[in-house]
Structures are given as C-alpha cells and as structure tokens.
C-alpha cells in the first residue's frame, strides 16, 4: 500500500465515522496534513496550527531520535548492546503522537518507542540498559509518566486501560496512551483492552503503529481489513493517519486525547508507517521482504518531509539545521560514553526487588549465594 496526498480527497466528516471509505485508488482514507513532498494540506477534521518554533521542535525531536537510534544500532554492532530494536522510519508516528501529550498523561510503550521516551524526557541512555543486559527497565516510570518497555506483545494495552480507569475514578482529566504494533493487534489482550475501555469508557488512546511487519509477517497475516476499522465493532472510533506525517500524527492524537479527556472514551489511531530497518539487530529482513518496498518508503521519509516544508516556508535556516546536526552528534557521543561507562550490575542485585515486602525464600537464597561467593574469596586467600 502506498501513502498518497489526500489534498484532493473529500474529507471524512467526523472522527466517529470511520467506515472504510475508499479513495479512487482503492485506498482507505488516511489523514494527512503534510505530503511526502513536504506540502501542507488541510483536513477539515484535523486542523493544526503550529508556530515555526514548534515545527522546528518537531524536526529536532525526530532528528535527535533518529540519531540516537542509529547510535544504538552501532553500539549493538560494537558489542556494547546485546540487541537493539530500531525505530527507523517511525519517527513521525512517535514524535507526533508523543508531542500531543500533556505531562500528566501516561504512556504505555512497547519496546520500540524511543521517540516517545525522548519526548517524555527519559534520558536516552537509560533506554539502553535493558538492551545492554544490565537491567530490565532502567527508569522510574512515575518520574516521566512513561511506563517501562513491555516485551510480551499486547499486555501493556490492558495496563493502560486499567490505568485509565483509575484516572477516571480519580476524576482527573488526564489521558492515557498505549502503543502497540500491527502484529500485536492479533493478541487477545488487545481485544480485551478494547472491550474493557469501551465498557468503562476509559480515557485511553490506542496508538497502533502499523509498520506493516511483525518480524517476518506482513500485516495480511494479522488482518484482512485495515486495522483502524477494528475499533468500530467495539463501539469507539478508529482513524488511520499517515504515520510518516508528524503533523497529522500530532493532530489526530491530540483530538483522540481530547475525546478521552472530555469523557468520550477510547479511540484507536492506526499510524500507517513502515519499519525501515530490521525487526531488531538479530533479524535479517532480506529473508522475507523485497528491498524495493523499503526503497519506495524512503520517498516518504518523515524527517525529509518536514525539512522540505520548513525550508519551503522559510521556517528554518541553514544555521538551524547545522545546529541540530551538531546537537545530534553530541547526543550520539553522550549516549556512547554513557553506555560504555555503564557498570555491570552487582550479582547480589539478582536478589533485590523480586518483592517489595521481602520473602523468606529470597532471604535464604541470598544468604546461600553470598556464602557461596565468599567461599571463592576464601579460596583465593
């Protein structure tokens, strides 16, 4: 499937009408505010009006995220990380949606939301702990309202729903966003999250990055109709947005969050994008997909698109781009240094945190392990 300009299309009238209205080209409708060529187009349901500074901010977010991501990939190649799951190509989906969030909103990511983490203010090097193998989640979810990465596909959508139920019980007007992938849409947990959120009218946005691959499986192995349509049968709206268009992602997510805040319940956003790289550094996509597909998507690059727009409109000059490039190099270096300096955990750490209130068996095993360790020290003496 390709993403085309919707400039000439008749717009959808309301975010609640999410039927599979087809365009001339047979494509289900896609919300787009910035064409691949960087032209600004209007959409009657999703207006957005950003200052040049805000636009530059989005560019910077995307560029730094991409730089960070590339650094992590190369750190993996250098053996500093055991694995890396690159977000290459998904910067707009992540930055656009995350920049729609307020501080008091809460985020439940998968394992690929490095751009969202960035927007939440999580120190990028903290993201690398689990990929380096020094921890299973290296940040305090509460300090940035950004939950830990979740590896078991789909589970976090239920946590998000429960959290949103709690927000509603508190009478707060915050919203919650759950990220997941096209593959995850098949998991029973995601369907249950749809059911619970609809029944309790929970203030949650389900943000599906359909990057068209679940490791080696194309989206057709998960569904025979566009994923955004899934929502309707659960009684809430679904909308498909150009996932490589940061403005559209921002506008659509903002509107979904507003619905949540104003008591209208959940929304499913399907960001139609593409996984430009391998699934993870362990994966070899040449085994299952044609490189032409990836090449075709290069023309829709989210960053190039915004840059073209910024340049065309004169919203940013060379100095700005140079500055961001410089900043990105500094970020790369900072992350590299931080990772290399990351100490291996103390073996005794295995016995910490399994329980909050302690557990006799853990105490026993900790003591045995300590004695066992000490026996080597003795031998060495």
């Amino acid at each position: 499937m390709t993403v085309e300009s919707t400039a000439t299309r008749k717009p959808r009238r309301s975010s609640k009408r999410v039927g599979a209205k087809k365009t001339r080209a047979g494509q289900p409708e896609l919300v787009q505010l910035l064409t691949p060529e960087g032209e600004r187009v209007e959409h009657p349901d999703y207006a957005i009006d950003l200052t040049p500074e805000e636009l530059r901010g989005l560019y910077r977010d995307m560029l730094l995220t991409r730089r960070f991501d590339a650094e992590a990939t190369s750190l993996q190649r250098q053996g500093e990380l055991g694995l890396w799951a690159s977000l290459l190509g998904q910067e707009a989906a992540q930055i656009g949606s995350a920049r729609a969030l307020r501080d008091d909103d809460y985020v439940f990511p998968t394992y690929r939301e490095h751009g969202v983490a960035w927007c939440r203010g999580v120190d990028p090097s903290n993201l690398l702990g689990m990929f380096r193998g020094v921890n299973n989640g290296g940040w305090d979810p509460k300090s940035n309202n950004f939950h830990l990465y979740t590896i078991v596909i789909g589970s976090q959508t239920l946590h998000a729903t429960g959290y949103a139920m709690g927000v509603a019980k508190d009478g707060a007007d915050a919203a919650v966003i759950a990220y997941f992938g096209d593959g995850a849409s098949s998991q029973g947990d995601v369907a249950e999250a749809f059911t619970f959120s609809a029944v309790y009218n929970a203030p949650v946005v389900f943000f599906c990055q359909n990057n068209q691959w679940a490791i080696s499986e194309p989206t057709e192995r998960q569904t025979r109709v566009p994923l955004y349509q899934r929502a309707q049968g659960y009684g809430f709206p679904g909308v498909r947005v150009d996932g490589n268009d940061v403005l559209a992602c921002l506008a659509v997510t903002r509107s979904a969050l507003e619905r949540a805040r104003s008591g209208e319940g959940p929304t499913l956003v399907e960001a139609f994008t593409y996984r430009m790289g391998a699934h993870t550094t362990s994966d070899d996509p040449t085994r299952y997909r044609q490189d032409e597909e990836r090449v075709a998507w290069e023309a829709k690059d989210p960053i190039a698109r915004l840059r073209a727009y910024l340049e065309r409109e004169g919203f940013a000059d060379e100095a700005f781009f140079a500055e961001v490039d410089e900043e990105s190099e500094a970020l790369g270096k900072r992350v590299r240094d931080a990772v290399r300096a990351m100490p291996d955990p103390d073996p005794m750490a295995m016995f910490e945190h399994t329980y909050a209130d302690g557990h006799a068996l853990v105490d026993e095993e900790r003591a045995q392990f300590a004695a066992y360790q000490a026996s080597f020290a003795e031998e060495e003496n």
């Binding site: 921890n135 299973n136 989640g137 290296g138 940040w139 305090d140 979810p141 509460k142 939950h147 830990l148 979740t150 078991v152 589970s155 959508t157 239920l158 946590h159 998000a160 729903t161 429960g162 959290y163 949103a164 139920m165 709690g166 927000v167 019980k169 508190d170 029973g188 947990d189 249950e192 999250a193 059911t195 619970f196 029944v199 910490e352 945190h353 399994t354 329980y355 909050a356 209130d357 557990h359 006799a360 068996l361 853990v362 026993e364």
Partner: protein, 326 residues
C-alpha cells in the same frame, strides 16, 4: 464487632468491607462480584455500600481483569480481583506470571503492585469440570508472587487484611468447600505474620503439614490416630509462597516424621518442595522419608469420583501408618 462467629465466606467479606472502609483506594473487581455478590456471596453487599465505582463487575475476560488490575495498581489503587473458580485463572496466567509477578523487579522497585487475586479453589463440592482444582503450585513456582490459603474464619479475615495491606501481589486461595465452616473472628486481635505456619495441634511422633481445606482433614486424622495412641502434630502452613520452613523444620526435628497433605496433584505439588527441602534440612533427623498425600496425575475427576481422588481421612491415616512403619 470484635469477636464473632462467622463462616469463612463471611469473614472474607468482612475483611474486604473493613479494608474498603479504611482505604478508599481498595477496589473489588471480577465477574459477578457486584449485584450478585459473587457466586459464593463473598462480595455480598459491597457494591450496594461502596458503589459501582469500587465494586466493579468486569467483562467476562480474566486476562482483562488482571491486566486492568495491574493498571489500576500503577495508578495507586489496591485492587482485589476475583477469579470465579480455580479452573478459570488460566486465561489470566500470562498477565499474572509475566506482568504482575515481574513488574516490581523490572522497575527495580520503583512501582508497587498491591494486587490481591482471590481464587476459590479445591474440590469436594460436587461441581462440574474446572470448578474443583488446586493450581497453587503453578503460582508458587513463580517468583514475584505470594500465595496463601486460610483454613479457618479467623485466618480468612486476618490473612485477607494482611494480603490487602501487602505491597506485593498475593494470590489468595480460598478453600471453597470450607466457605460455610464457622469460626471465631476477633477483629481486634493482633494477628501473626501472613506467611507464618501455625502449630494447630502438638504431637510427638509425626508431623502432618497442610493448608487450606486439608487442615481440617489432618486435624481429624490426628484425632483418629490419637485414639490408636499415636501422637500427631498438625501444622497449618497458611502460606505456600513463601513456605515457613523454619516452623516445619522445628516440628520435624521433634517428631522425625513428616507427611504433607494437599488436594493438588502430588507430582510437582508443593509437597515435593517441602519434602525436598525438609529432607535437606533434617537429613539426620528423619526416621522416614517425607510422604505426600494428594491428588493423582489426572485431570480432576467427575464429581462422583472426587472422594476417591481427594485426600481423605483414610488416605492420610494410611500415610501416617506407612511413615510410622519405617
């Protein structure tokens, strides 16, 4: 109320009620827990008094119940989730094992998961398939969970209060066939620790260790054995994770013989761990191998066979005799 005679189901109900009164963050959720008050009436009256916002009838989806309970806990609530019957906990197993159990460790202690999962468990009520199982070993094996089971009304009340107070996930196994057994509950008494075993009855020749529904059977077995002049000590383990091995060890060092009784299948049941560990701790004290009485390696049988499947007085006494014969 200070001291009152209550059936176990009602004692749990009182514990829920009093926790809900004390802490507005305590929630009850599950299938049919609202108007119906649960199929065993354990949550009877709670929705009427605390409202639909705190006593939540959930969609029919156990993974959803536990998954949203986790989310609620992350938001600062203390959810008590009911699984309607033992055999229906498995759709939630993934959320329990990969998320609930591991999230505190994953977050290096930065988030707490004070979730209680109530599971009416065990057989003896003549029910159809999936309504009589004892899956506790499948949870006790998993680090990050605590598993307990009361055997009497007082423990039912207090252990539930303590489970709700715990910042760790607790799987609370309710001995459903004992729901109607009455006992004194003193809501003012200071309870023992949630994970401490209790010597129900002292004896010198053999220790019977059990928890939940089997404690009663063991007490009866001890009485029957006493008539034959055998002195049996009975332990109510109360907690299957952690297991209070110190108390068992203390008892076995005295009696030198141990029989563990549970409804769950013997193979890889909690008795296996107790036998292994107590043998290690008491190798030179034991006069006989630790014997186990429990269910067989078969699906829980249809109701008309359950008396044969479940450990009863005769099977426990048979094991006692075998152990004493060493």
């Amino acid at each position: 109320m200070a001291v009152e005679k209550l059936p176990i189901a009602k004692a749990i109900n009182e514990a829920l009620r009093s926790a809900m009164e004390t802490d507005s963050k305590v929630l009850v959720m599950g299938e049919d827990v609202g108007k119906l008050g649960g199929v065993f009436r354990v949550t009877d009256g709670l929705q009427k008094d605390f409202g639909e916002d705190r006593v939540i009838d959930s969609p029919l989806a156990e993974s959803g119940i536990i998954g949203t309970a986790i989310g609620l806990a992350l938001r600062g609530y203390r959810p008590i989730a009911e699984i309607q019957f033992d055999g229906f906990v498995f759709p939630a197993y993934d959320q329990i094992v990969t998320q609930l159990a591991k999230m505190h460790a994953r977050a290096l202690g930065k988030v707490k998961l004070p979730v209680v999962i109530r599971i009416p468990y065990g057989g003896g009520i003549g029910a159809v398939e999936h309504h009589s199982e004892s899956p506790e070993a499948l949870f006790a094996h998993v680090a990050g969970l605590k598993c307990v089971s009361p055997s009497n009304a007082s423990d039912a009340y207090w252990m539930m209060r303590q489970a709700i107070d715990s910042d760790d996930p607790v799987i609370f196994f309710e001995p459903k066939r004992r729901y109607w057994d009455k006992g004194e509950v003193d809501t003012a008494a200071i309870p023992g620790g949630l994970h401490e075993a209790r010597v129900v009855q002292e004896g010198s020749q053999l220790t019977l260790a059990a928890y939940g529904p089997m404690v009663k059977v063991c007490v009866e077995a001890a009485a029957a054995a006493a008539e034959e002049g055998k002195s049996i000590e009975v332990l109510d383990l109360r907690s299957m994770s952690p297991i209070d091995f110190d108390t068992i060890q203390g008892s076995v060092e005295k009696t030198r013989r141990l029989v563990v009784v549970h409804e769950a299948p013997v193979f890889l049941g909690t008795g296996a761990e107790i036998a292994a560990r107590i043998t290690e701790r008491c190798f030179y004290h034991l006069e006989a191998p630790v014997l186990r009485v429990g269910g067989y390696h078969a699906p829980y049988p249809p109701a008309r066979l359950e008396e044969e499947y479940l450990p009863g007085l005769d099977r426990v006494l048979d094991a006692v005799d075998r152990a004493l014969a060493y």
